[in-house]
């Protein structure tokens, strides 16, 4: 076990505004070019599973809408997002798509709402060109509020993103080999700080965690987590109690977005585009099921996992459509 104490999110965010003059943008899942936001002095604050009880969201959303959308809306309605300067809605699924309109058009939030459409597979040459245009478009949307995108700064932020990815790869690799001393619960507690920490704070945290967590190899049995979130936390605690290691994951909130591939491109927008199309297979990008199956099987083999736990979010269509194939394979 390491000695990790997560920062108070609210205090941290306030400090970002007051000391560093950063704009805080509430970002719904899942795919968005965070490097562009960093470069524009915007800190993305991802909204996945705020610890709230859903009550007022039901006035806007039917019972068959997923908890990520419901709780995200609840956060806004309850005013818990008042510290935020705006919201960003990537085009992840039908529910988030329509949520963006509910928030922007009907909630009177009095904060700007931004939208980011990313192309869906099967990809063609047009997808690549379009993605670069979308990156420029996002920067143009944000410009009125936060100022123009600085390209040299963007290059620096891309380097920071690669640094984060590099340390993540090392952490995941250690974990796969059973050489990470941290518990499953602690591992995800640290990894998920990516959802709101600025890379200038996240990189030192990761480096410290990496240094403190190295351990001699253990012979624990391992499993893979696949799905959206490593939730509920009780599952991680249970696995820790049973001395079962999570050897790897195929989680949307985690490895599917963090394993940013190395790129050779020089132009920053080309770099971001190349990364997007080479990210691990993901339902939110409509990656072919076969690619996801192969990726998952590689992970199973890579950490000698004895099983896969599918962490489903109820009503999540992108994931539920893949599930029968993955289980069968």
């Amino acid at each position: 076990m390491t000695d990790f104490h997560p920062p108070s999110r609210k205090e941290y965010l306030l400090r970002q505004k007051e000391v560093y003059g950063r704009h805080l943008l509430g970002v719904f899942p899942a795919q968005y070019p965070r490097e562009i936001l960093w470069a524009m002095n915007v800190l993305p604050v991802e909204i996945w599973d705020p610890p709230l009880e859903s009550s007022q969201a039901s006035a806007h959303l039917q019972p068959y809408i997923c908890s990520i959308v419901k709780l995200g809306l609840e956060l806004i309605i309850q005013g818990k997002g008042d510290i935020l300067d705006g919201f960003l809605f990537p085009h992840t699924c039908d529910s988030i798509q329509n949520l963006s309109s509910i928030v922007n058009d009907y909630l009177e939030v009095k904060k700007p709402c931004y939208f980011f459409y990313h192309p869906k597979a099967p990809y063609r040459e047009s997808s690549h060109r379009f993605y670069i245009e979308q990156l420029r478009d996002l920067a143009a949307q944000l410009e009125d509020q936060v100022g123009a995108l600085d390209y040299p700064r963007l290059n620096q932020c891309i380097d920071k993103g690669e640094k984060v990815a590099s340390i993540m790869r090392e952490l995941y690799s250690l974990r796969a080999r059973g050489e990470l001393g941290a518990s499953n619960f602690e591992f995800y507690q640290v990894i998920r700080q990516a959802e709101f920490l600025h890379p200038d704070d996240f990189i030192p945290l990761l480096e410290r965690f990496l240094k403190d967590s190295r351990n001699t190899a253990t012979s624990q049995e391992s499993v893979i987590l696949s799905g959206v979130l490593p939730n509920p936390p009780e599952i991680l605690n249970l696995l820790d109690e049973l001395k079962i290691r999570v050897g790897d994951d195929d989680l949307l909130a985690c490895s599917r977005r963090h394993f940013v591939p190395y790129t050779q491109a020089k132009d920053p927008l080309e770099t971001l585009a190349e990364r997007y199309f080479r990210m691990p297979p993901c339902t939110t990008r409509n990656s072919p099921i076969r690619e996801r199956m192969v990726n998952l099987l590689d992970k199973v083999e890579g950490c000698n996992a004895k099983g896969v736990i599918f962490c489903m979010v109820k009503f999540c269509e992108p994931e539920l459509f893949d599930l029968p194939h993955l289980i069968e394979e």
Partner: protein
Amino acid sequence: MGDDTVGKAMSLSRKIRYHFMKDMGVPGLMRFSAARKKRHTRKQSLSLGPPLTCNSRLKEIMATHYLLSRYAEGAKPVAWVTSGAPVEILRPFGFYTFYPENHAALCGAQKLGPEIFAEAEEHGYHQDLCSYARIDLGHYFSGKTPVGQLPKPDLLFASNNICQTVVYWYRALAEYWKIPLILFDTPYNFGEIKEGDIRYMVRQLEEMIPLLEQISKRRFHHRRFQEIIRIAKEASVTWGEVLSTMKARPSPMTIFDAFNHLAPIVSLRGLPAALEYYRALLDELHERVAQGIGAIRDERKRLMWDNIAIWYKVRDFSNLFAEHGMNFVSATYTYAWTETIGLLDESKPFESMAKAYSLVVLNNNLNHRLKLMEDLIREFQVDGLVIHSARSCKPYSVGQYDLKRLLVERLKIPAVIIEADITDSRAYSEEQAMVRLEAFFEALEG
């Protein structure tokens, strides 16, 4: 014989069989079937007006389409297509197009949904998933269908302008069938449509052509494509005129009729049969308007329906509302196939297709639909609104609570929400629906 020669002989024999069935076999079967049906006419509610004469022609067209589809495999390239996909690009290549959504709706209307999607659920497809998809996957696993046999596709052709679910569904099919999937990726219009998005869609259409040529073994014929665009546009405009006849008092047709008459513009768009059919239907409706013949005998209130039909309740609801003197004269769902297809322009086929297919109602923010509903309510003199909150259809359903609230506030009309599903009757509670509808009827009458 070598494999290639066998393949060609098989294909040739199938082509011969297909054309025989198209020109002689199926028409003969249709005449026989029509004669049998004349001896077994279904009774209908006394509250309903005389049925449309065109109903029998519609059944013949769609039955022909399904029957002939059994002989398409191996004779023509077969494409399974989503309802919002730009099918016009497939027509010049001679694809026989099949619409799993239309098939699923048919299964739903015949109350076969639960039996077929149980097969998909047995294979791990969760019941929270779209029931159209579950029926289609259920058919894949079991072969069950009320139309005899479905043709195996050579290509899957989808557009996410109606929802993202079709993309996940067709991705699953592509994995099972091991065939190409072409996605026409239509960026969602968070605000106004953007030039960059139009360019992206135009490029996609251009990029598709080599693959379509490869699969169909036909070259792209630009003139033929332009002619198909013209026919599709005209059929869509004519469909719009059909719907406009429902502004008359009494309306010559109900939306429940329109749900059925939608089939040609969805499944046969770009083919002369759809255009010819809607011209005939329009003539009949004009005649009924001129003679004051209503779809229901006593039209006292006029209603609008939002969302896809509750297919297994279409007949029951048609009777129920007619008995209360209430006629559905407008619906966002039926309007979808005339709202934008009229933008098609044969002189700019790719650009106009990009706009037409991007601007469909479900690919726009909720304000677009709000304005559409307000306009339709005013134009069709609607007294009340029935909203189907369809569990399977999130792009249609998410936001309905706010739309209802705003329409009631602005237009001062009663509205009711029925929680149900398009084909999964397990999501429908007769008791709950009736309680809500009784209150709605009282509000309307009061």
